[in-house]
Subunit: 330 residues, 2 copies
DNA sequence: TCAGTGAATGTTTACGTAAACATTCACTGA
DNA sequence: TCAGTGAATGTTTACGTAAACATTCACTGA
């Protein structure tokens, strides 16, 4: 910075002013400084900046190693939104999803060059963790139900599930079966609960819940069982992969989709438009979740709020060819 | 640090020594300092450290927004390996894959708190970019063929394709068809070239190349055409998604896999073991690619080497039920 | 004419750390 | 006994920046 100042014939402080876009610098001075910067290939030292300013302009993202598609797309959106706000994103991977590991990630936080944190993870692990956050470190959690202890941004799982079930009921189906996700998953729980609640509201009895583990293979196995139920004309699958397996099982058993059975998925993964038949599904806006996470931490940082609560991102039902009215006479 | 020193009754320098694990501190002094650190919840300021040391202990990863599964798993491995080496990972997303964007990412690098860079991206975009890297900034590129200009770590695409083709020839097939990836992709190019070369070596004529765009849907469409070729008994698909579409097309057309047609994929995505039938495919070791990227930048940083060259990560053929000898009489 | 004003620019200083050098002090061995 | 040695610890200083305060100087208006 001193070299630039010398070459431009000004003081270092003026270089700093130009470098930070502060007002009160003559157009001509500014041009000379910029020229000197280019000449010397000057780049501000971010360590010194951070030290002086007391902030790093960096957000940390704690994730249980990039596992699900949703997490990844949320992370992508976080990185993009953060960049737009002039923040960098540092990854804090947690290899094994244990209390200790999560706890460790949180305590390493203090030494890391990070101003705020976004956690993308099933939140079970945050429960008992006696997390000692560095003072002033703000946290936002994506995709969890810890709204009573953290600021949470989540997809409106319940709303999406409700839309899926209502869509099928609206087509005239007597009831809707559910191919649910694993018991431990909060997202799966909420989708299943909303499915049951929506049937209740309509005065309908929920058929027995069939569970998978999110994988296409588990959807296929569950599908073989569902295909044996003659009165099953509509299935809401808790994600698209399981719906894919279900489609294949129904096809193998000679039950046509959507003529005999209607199927709705959840997620709207890119492939779902190419399934046979193209899948009606609940679109999740991961980009918006990521954006709101960034917005959330930044505003908490700026106002230094300690609050909590949940922001829900609405879903959108995408109607494709896998749903239709039930076969005549049912 | 001063507070800790006062509380422990030592100098700040001794605190620094304990904090960095330097030798020459009595066990008793060390214990007192550690106690004082805990008491005051002291955490070293990473900005000041970076300023003083002249390094950030951070690697930057430039990716064209987290698109493909391979990129994501590579990124995951990079983050994990970096953490093991005491390095953090900062994400530098490039929203649009244009020269300008990539160039921009590279020049922002100078201001970023980053000691080295890993690029995960098709490398077309690096070609013409007049990249002005900050002095001393080392770069490693994953998954590209720019070995003459950068240090590159890549999966052994050619070796994997060769193994796939040889496996099919070894089973007795007269020739092997190829369902290739998009023309612009370097990975697709290398897989297709190796397919052709392996047939050449065996003195066989390569059937016409059928192209998809990596998606299952494109594999399905290509599969419908391949199903019309009565002499097609073995297909090597350039990725597992296209193989999935291919399987479905063959099934629809009544051609049994593996009885009538053998199919090999590439990637070994988790689902491929659950395809119908389970898919023989080429396993890519993304974790190893990521690890080698980190190792590569770090060693270049330490020795300040300016060299380039390519490190290939071997693949492994995973034999499942989608491949078998050709039907009798063929 | 000249005190007063305010924009443009300069000078001093501290952010928290660790390298380089300095000092202390117990112990060794002639 | 005491110079010599080396481990343990302390003091001084600089890393590059930007906030706080200081100075310069052209211009205004009574």
């Amino acid at each position: 910075m001193g070299d630039v100042a010398r070459l431009a014939g000004v003081s270092a402080q003026t270089v700093s002013r130009v470098s930070n876009g502060f007002p009160g610098v003559t157009e001509e001075t500014r041009r000379q400084v910029l020229a000197a910067m280019r000449e010397l290939d000057y780049r501000p030292n971010s360590a010194a900046r951070a030290l002086r300013r007391g902030e790093f302009r960096t957000l940390g993202v704690i994730t249980f190693s990039l596992s699900t598609l949703g997490n990844i797309r949320t992370l992508d959106a976080i990185a993009t939104s953060a960049a737009r706000e002039g923040y960098a994103v540092t990854l804090l991977p947690v290899a094994v999803p244990t209390q200790d590991e999560v706890h460790g990630a949180f305590s390493r936080l203090g030494e890391l060059a990070v101003d705020g944190v976004i956690v993308i993870m099933e939140v079970h692990l945050l429960d008992a963790a006696t997390v000692s956050l560095p003072p002033g470190m703000q946290v936002v959690v994506a995709d969890s139900d810890a709204g009573d202890r953290y600021t949470v941004v989540d997809t409106d799982q319940a709303g999406g599930a409700r839309d899926a079930v209502r869509h099928l009921l609206g087509l005239g189906h007597r009831t809707v079966w559910h191919l649910g996700g694993p018991e431990e998953s909060f997202a799966a729980q909420r989708r299943a609960n909303a499915w049951r609640a929506t049937l209740d509201e309509a005065g309908l009895l929920a058929p027995p819940l069939v569970r998978g583990d999110w994988s296409a293979e588990s959807g296929y196995r569950a599908g073989l069982r569902l295909a044996e139920q003659p009165d099953c004309t509509a299935v809401f699958a808790a994600n698209d992969q399981m719906a894919l397996g279900l489609l294949r099982a129904l096809d193998e058993r000679g039950r046509k989709v959507p003529d005999d059975v209607s199927v709705v998925g959840f997620d709207d993964i890119p492939e779902s438009a190419s399934f046979l038949p193209p899948l009606t599904t609940v679109h999740q806006d991961f980009a918006e979740v990521g954006r709101l996470c960034v917005e959330g931490v930044l505003s908490k940082m700026r106002q230094d709020v300690a609050g909590y609560g949940t922001t829900l991102v609405p879903t959108r039902l995408v109607r494709r060819r896998s749903t239709a009215p039930p076969p005549a006479g049912r």
